[in-house]
């Protein structure tokens, strides 16, 4: 009433009739104006206002003018790229990419370049390359290009193939996935879409599940690449949901719920949760119970679950890995909302082959992913090669075993070194990395100090580890160290280098 009373005064005063009608009208007009402005501003206003009028003026130049008059660069301003390209092309300042670039310039080599930077920032597995090498040299001749009148086979390489992958590869992939999960989980080849790496697989799923401006919840710490893969072209927003070291970085439903409701308040529509299991920077696996409650949560909110299981076969502990496919398979859940991302880059250590896949239970998602696979197909040559590699059961079994054993070996050596330094780490049973707590070495408990330490590690110790802040971890001082690019001989070198930094850090106090 208090708001209305002053107005009433005006209405009842002189000129009341007019003013009483005009003031609300004017107020309303301004409100509309304000709304309109606010509504427009995000898209075209900021970048285009100044250039566009000038270009329209120029359009009035007579077309008949000679080419040379028009042509000299800059007369019209440079050709503009799209706003999204501009933001994509910007150099990335995240320490994750800074570190990777630095290593490229100055890589460590035990023999030739012992002062170079040691790469602990790229989750690549080089421990079992010799096995793949061996297989290739033995089988390449018979696998892809058969000399013995296999013309038909070769024609099959060169001609049009379904862009979502050869059926043979899907079958081989399905059986490989069941082997990796090492359980009685069977994957259905018809639910697989093959893509050129796990990166496009994730992007395609984002395109399928969320529209521009929608959001996806991602428990932190998460793989720094998601910020590119999931948002750049899809226009989807990632909402980090913070996990704590006290929970061993396992996502809590309460935090998810909070994030969901906050997003809702902001008017954002949440369309899914992305989990990586085994977790990418942390290296632990989600317990069965967590998977169940995640599913419950997803159902309750009617959203999707994207499960990135690209490290499923790189487990090295005694814990068993539980795939989302197993959870969904064993009970009558509504499977429609579960989508699994897998790839051969990590578990088969062939990132150069660029092979990933989407495994989904949702017919609509499968159908549209198959259509989008036209933008990221795998070359038929590579597919044929993989079909014979994956179907060589004896080799695969041996490979998976050896791979696990070797990862374990390096891991044990690495954490033993950390223990000696008095540095703690999260006990995880999977992945190609170790999630190390260096908060004892940072000067103040903040992101700034963490980046300082990152800088020291990179420049003084010459090792590139990924700082937790690049993974959106809220607790400072955590670092991801990928140890599978190392050989056993390199581990002591790394530990020695960390020790050096640790001493410097501790001495000023």
């Amino acid at each position: 009433m208090r708001l209305i009373v002053p107005l009433q005064g005006v209405v009842q005063g002189r000129g009341g009739l007019l003013m009483g009608s005009l003031i609300p009208c004017a107020l309303f007009y301004f409100l509309q104006l304000y709304l309109k402005k606010r509504h427009r501003s995000p898209k075209p206003r900021s970048p285009s206002v100044s250039p566009s009028p000038s270009s329209s003026n120029l359009a009035e130049l007579p077309r008949s003018a000679s080419r040379s008059n028009l042509s000299s660069r800059g007369s019209i301003g440079p050709a503009r790229t799209s706003n999204r390209a501009t933001s994509i092309a910007k150099p990335n300042t995240s320490p994750y990419y800074v570190g990777l670039d630095r290593v490229l310039e100055d890589p460590y080599d035990r023999v030739h370049y012992p002062d170079g930077i040691i790469q602990l920032g790229l989750s690549e597995n080089r421990l079992c390359l010799d096995l793949i090498d061996e297989w290739m040299s033995e089988n390449l001749n018979n696998s892809v290009i058969r000399g013995d009148g296999g013309d038909l086979g070769i024609a099959g390489l060169a001609t049009y193939q379904p862009s979502d992958g050869l059926v043979e590869l899907k079958v081989a992939m399905a059986s490989f996935m069941s082997k990796v999960v090492s359980k009685e989980v069977s994957f259905n080849p018809s639910q697989i879409v093959i893509t050129s790496g796990a990166t496009p697989a994730i992007e395609i799923l984002c395109f399928c599940l969320a529209d521009q401006g929608n959001a996806i919840l991602v428990p932190t710490p998460y793989y720094p690449g998601f910020d590119r893969d999931m948002t750049w072209r899809t226009g989807v927003e990632l909402i980090p949901v913070h996990c704590r070291s006290t929970d061993n970085f396992i996502p809590s439903i309460t935090a998810l719920d909070q994030a969901f409701n906050q997003a809702k308040k902001r008017g954002l529509r949440v369309r899914g949760i992305l989990i990586s299991n085994p977790s990418n920077p942390v290296g632990n696996m989600l317990p069965r119970e967590t998977l169940y409650s995640l599913l419950d949560f997803a159902r309750e909110k009617n959203i999707h679950i994207l499960s990135d299981e690209i490290f499923a076969g790189s487990t090295h502990g005694n814990e068993e890995f539980v795939s989302m496919a197993e959870i969904v398979g064993e009970e009558e859940f509504d499977k429609d909302r579960v989508h699994i991302i897998y790839g051969l880059s990590k578990d088969l250590s062939i990132p150069g082959f660029r092979v990933g896949c989407i495994y989904s239970f949702n017919e609509t998602v499968l159908a549209s992913s198959k259509r989008m696979a036209r933008f990221s197909p795998v070359s038929a040559l590579t597919q044929r090669l993989l079909v014979s590699l994956l179907l060589d059961t004896r080799f695969i079994t041996k490979y998976l075993e050896t791979n696990r054993r070797r990862i374990r070996q390096v891991y044990d050596l690495f954490v033993a070194g950390l223990k000696e330094l008095g540095v703690k780490w999260t006990e995880g049973g999977a992945g190609l990395f170790c999630w190390v707590d260096m908060s004892g070495l940072i000067r103040s408990y903040s992101e700034k100090a963490e980046l300082e330490l990152f800088d020291r590690l990179l420049n003084i110790a010459k090792i590139n580890a990924t700082p937790g802040s690049a993974c959106h971890c809220i607790e400072p001082g955590w670092f991801r160290c990928c140890f599978t690019t190392l050989s056993l001989e390199d581990v002591p070198v790394v530990i020695e280098r960390i020790r050096r930094v640790a001493e410097i850090c501790k001495s000023p106090r």
Binding site: Q32, A79, T81, T86, N141, L157, R299, K301, R354, F375
Partner: protein, 545 residues
């Protein structure tokens, strides 16, 4: 309460005013302006009993409803499909969330539909909805029942896919001789192919590709390997360029008839619009700057921002090549409008006619013009018969575009074994030279034979110089001169004639009755079979009319 006396003191006037209001609203007019007419009834209310409160509340309410309406109206386009399911789903999820405790046994919650079906995005729905174009329907039909001279002579013959099978034997020969060695590289070391590599392609392959491109364009241009981004096929190359050049809601001008796949590659995920710019048979389907200009201004009027032109040279369905003069005027046009030019030159090495093919790179090279707005799409699928390898190329002289495309190549990078193989294949100069020459010869032979066959049936083709297809005018055979008649004929060709061709309407051709025949998938023995089948159909068409 000071309000009451105040209210009473003003009582006499309102009666008069309300009477006046009644008369004006009943149409007597009086001295009130039109604007006043709206306000007057309100004044009546204001001055009547309870006027103070109502006088403030009614405008407020009106304002509220207007806002509500505006809000609805604005988010309308995006919302149109979901409202009913989403609101009910939200409702349901709230209900289940509130009523069923999370702790209750899982089995209670599980039956499907308790939370409503999981939604997919509206763009996924859009992608699924399309695809009923005869182009894609035809391709699918052939997959189900493909022709084979021996095994399935009654199957459907594929004339709808721009694929070259004429020179597969050459590729096969090379692969058998060199393939295995090539894939591993000389050192036969696995770390050369298995480990992480730059996602936009190996430098060696970029160099080999530029060499090959110069050869394909007959040594007229030299390309700079550092300006190249390799992708998984030219489809991905075109999509990446659309992402880099245009934002969602912007548009590209594309002269028609154009390759039916553009509608997917450009629109689907990047959200860019295609504005077809019709070309006429009377001009031999050559594009006219006037038409482009008109389309540009029409788009501007509609408030759509045009960011570029996409041309195919050699043209995909028509098979013509663009003259040097046309390319010059195109570059002038894009410079004048400050937009980009994307040239799809994927058939550059597959020219078979007498006319010379001029790459836009040559024009840009020689002229003092703005190079940063010209981008070339290339691929090895057509010119090297390697569709299955899925290797496409973006060649751009715009640093920003190259930088963005390199970063985007993480979504479509070529697998390293394939790259290694291609490096040695393309570096084998004897092979590539021979291949390009033989391929041109065979294409020419096939083209001549095919066009002659059609001519015998009374079907004329536009004079083509490149590509795997001829563009035939079958308007004489359609029952009515419209798209419906054309689709009827297409249907007849597919189901009676058992040949799959691409109707002009799929290529957005505005003149009905044109069809694209891709002849490079045929062997020579197939041509008479195709002609016989077309004759059968054309006879039934003629007899009825």
């Amino acid at each position: 309460m000071t309000r009451t006396p105040f209210f009473r003191a003003r009582l006499p006037d309102p009666d008069e005013d309300s009477r006046a209001a009644v008369t004006t609203s009943s149409g007597a007019g009086g001295g009130w302006g039109t604007a006043m007419r709206v306000i007057v009834p309100l004044q009546g209310v204001v001055q009547g009993r309870g006027g103070l409160v109502l006088g403030s509340l009614i405008p407020c309410a009106l304002c509220y409803f207007l806002q509500l309406y505006l809000k609805r109206h604005r988010s309308g386009p995006a919302r149109t499909p979901p409202p009913s399911p989403s609101s009910s789903a939200d409702h349901l999820s709230e209900v289940t969330g509130a009523v069923l405790q999370r702790s209750s046994s899982r089995a209670h919650l599980s039956p499907r539909g308790s939370g409503g079906p999981a939604h997919v995005s509206s763009r996924a729905a859009l992608i699924l909805r399309g695809g009923d174009s005869p182009y894609f329907v035809g391709l699918k039909r052939v997959e189900e029942d493909p022709y084979d001279a021996v095994a399935n002579p009654n199957g459907i013959i594929q004339l709808g896919l721009a694929e070259n099978k004429l020179c597969l034997d050459l590729v096969c020969e090379w692969l058998v001789a060199n393939g295995n060695k090539a894939m591993l590289g000389d050192e036969a070391s696995i770390s050369r192919i298995a480990t992480y590599k730059p996602l936009d392609g190996l430098m060696e392959l970029k160099m080999a590709v530029t060499d090959f491109m110069s050869q394909a364009t007959e040594r007229s241009v030299s390309f700079d390997p550092s300006q190249i981004v390799l992708t998984t096929g030219s489809t991905a190359a075109i999509e990446t360029l659309s992402f880099c050049i245009a934002d969602g809601g912007n548009a590209f001008l594309v002269p028609t008839p154009y390759y039916p796949g553009f509608d997917r590659d450009i629109k689907w995920r990047s959200g860019v619009e295609i504005i077809p710019v019709p070309c006429r048979s009377s001009d031999n389907f050559a594009l006219s700057i006037n038409a482009l200009d008109r389309a540009f201004y029409q788009a501007k009027k509609r408030g759509v921002k045009v960011r570029g032109i996409i041309i195919s040279n050699p043209s995909n369905p028509v098979g013509t090549v663009l003259s040097r003069e046309t390319l010059y005027s195109l570059i002038d046009f894009v410079t004048e409008k400050n937009i980009h030019l994307i040239c799809n030159e994927i058939f550059a090495g597959s020219t078979q006619g007498a006319e010379e093919f001029v790459s836009v790179a040559e024009i840009v090279d020689s002229e003092d013009c703005d190079r940063t707005r010209v981008h070339i799409v290339y691929g090895l699928s057509k010119d090297l018969c390697l569709t299955g390898f899925n290797v496409g190329v973006i060649y751009s002289l715009n640093e920003n575009v190259v930088a963005a495309a390199k970063k985007l190549s993480r979504f479509s990078s070529v697998s390293t074994p394939t790259q290694r193989l291609l490096i040695s294949m393309l570096s084998d100069a004897r092979f590539t030279q021979n291949f390009i020459r033989v391929n041109r010869e065979r294409l020419r032979k096939m083209y001549v034979e095919f066009v002659a066959g059609l001519k015998k049936l009374g079907i004329e083709c536009t004079k083509g110089n490149g590509g795997f297809s001829c563009w035939a005018d079958m308007s004489g055979l359609i029952r009515s001169y419209n798209e419906k008649g054309e689709i009827e004929l297409w249907d007849k060709l597919l189901n009676m004639g058992k040949i799959n061709v691409t109707p002009g309407s799929s290529c957005q051709c505005i003149e009905p009755g044109w069809f694209r025949f891709c002849f490079a998938t045929l062997s020579e023995n197939d041509v008479p079979v195709v002609m016989e089948r077309i004759r059968n159909v054309s006879e039934t068409c003629k007899s009825r009319s």
